[in-house]
Symmetry: C2
Subunit: 322 residues, 2 copies
């Protein structure tokens, strides 16, 4: 119904939401940035906008790039982004900082290295903190991905420092996962191999000009075999590696579409997303319940040695109905 | 009551538990190892033993050592362990692998580098996977710590690869947290600084013989100030760094005891532990609830674009009473 003919005026909040939704769908950079800040803060106001833009998502190719600090992920992502731009594809980059739960976000700012792309409206770059997100890194990052997807970015990079849980969470929200290693990791690569196979679609040995790079590459290739998990070496000084990496990413995307695993992948990603939203709710419920004094009473009793934590948790679970 | 006089015989399970508890308290290596395997598997049989040994815990000094892959944590921990042994202190080392949720544990094995200590019964070393632990890395690792504590280890190292969530979780279970950096991390150290201050009690710049080490050290010292967060540089070839690091750890332990923050720390750690146990329970409950078909129905509806994930999560939360 036309708003002007309606007997009840459209509420101000609704108008603001409609306006924001329109701006997101048009790829308005300031609207994207301000909504992302609200998502970082866990602001419930974002929900209406996210619901409204959701039907416009599902087109973007989400590429997760993870690895240890110093592996050179940022430069790699930049070079890939430049390549996609040459193909006239629009790019979103989320640099996720999983440690920044405590920080005020000030240090995140926008990293100097990102200036190169700033002049290009086809690239949206954002450092993304996840403070306040009870469901882990992933719930908030997924929301940011949907925004960029609705804003018609063709490719969305999710770059995060870290192995372990953070890496698992990135794997659960990306179509293609690139894990970046360096020769410097040495023996610890052995330690990580088993986990990598389950997470990565493509392995990169970056800093290929460093001593030991060939060994690392050979070992990984021998361990995984070209078929199971492609391994490519890259370096800041050479571009062959990047070209091969881009080809592997495109191959993975196409194969996913061709062999029918894409619908399954979509179901898988939706399952992970619902799960992470439910976890958020469960945590919020738990946080509310333990605001109850009985929680602190049990904490004290454990600390004073009057009981063990397992019995205390059992008692609490019964009392607060978990 | 004496079991032989009792009219009802002690159940077999109870006898096995009593026997295991006795062996743990005596520091029996095989009993420790087999219980840790059960903890890794999330086996509920461990609960009775953990409850029984809990009153014998609270003596050990738990030192968390985290950092990126390749930072040299393992060698550092080994050298510190050797130092503690020279002081006649017994040592437990848990090398936590947060990515191994998927692995079968086979690759973890016991790393070659650990052989050095194997002949010494005063050191217990274990690679520790955390598959099956819904509450994250920390719930299972805490149980392993309690076992080692009850087995009268004076010092327990918890070593883990990783930044981000894994690092936060280690920080929530250790008395003293050592974060290991390397000069190779370069610019990403800037990115991490804010998070580090909240997590670390001592910063180590390892591989001090590498180019850029002095710069990294100077930058960190300038950023944090000696008072707020001590920074020490170490290298595999020199032992001064280790001596200083050991002194800083002892200083932190003693200051925590002296300034009365130790009781608070204990309450804080107990709070974190109870929270992680409750999270485990909540996740288990959630997992059971979403075994319901309504969950998969909603997943499909989201995947097919009939609804958005936020509305689906709301409906599910109402239906399964979260």
């Amino acid at each position: 119904m036309n708003a002007y003919l309606s007997s009840t005026p459209i509420p101000r909040v609704q108008l603001m939401t409609n306006n924001l939704v329109k701006r997101i769908l048009n790829g308005d950079v300031r609207a994207l940035a301000s909504l992302m800040s609200l998502i970082e803060d866990g602001d419930p106001k974002t929900k209406a906008v996210l619901k409204a833009v959701y039907p416009h998502t599902g087109r973007a190719h989400v590429i997760g790039v993870t690895g240890a600090a110093g592996a050179g992920k940022s430069s790699l992502v930049e070079r890939m982004a430049a390549d996609f731009r040459r193909q006239k594809k629009t790019v979103g980059i989320l640099a996720v900082d999983p440690t920044s739960r405590f920080s005020t976000g000030a240090l995140l700012g926008d990293r100097i290295r990102m200036r190169d792309h700033f002049a290009d409206p086809g690239v949206f770059i954002r450092s993304f903190a996840t403070r306040g997100a009870g469901g882990g890194v992933s719930a908030a990052v997924r929301k940011a991905i949907h925004l960029l997807d609705a804003a018609e970015k063709d490719v969305i990079f999710v770059e995060t420092i870290g192995v372990g849980q953070d890496q698992l969470e990135i794997a659960a929200l990306a179509h293609t996962v690139v894990v970046v290693l360096t020769p410097q990791m040495g023996d610890e690569v052995q330690f990580l191999k088993a986990g990598l196979a389950e997470i990565a679609h493509i392995l990169v040995v970056n800093k290929a000009d460093l001593l030991g790079a060939d060994d690392t590459l050979r070992q990984l290739k021998a361990f995984f075999g070209e078929e199971d998990l492609p391994v490519v070496s890259t370096s800041a000084t050479q571009s062959e590696g990047i070209t091969l990496l881009m080809a592997l990413i495109e191959k993975h995307r196409r194969e996913s579409l061709d062999n029918g695993s894409y619908p399954n992948k979509r179901i898988h990603l939706c399952r992970q997303e619902l799960l992470s939203l439910l976890r958020e709710k469960v945590f919020a419920r738990l946080a509310k319940k333990i605001a109850d004094r009985s929680f602190e009473t049990e904490v004290k009793r454990v600390a004073e040695g009057q009981t063990d934590p397992y019995s205390a948790a059992d008692r609490l679970a019964r009392r607060i109905d978990i």
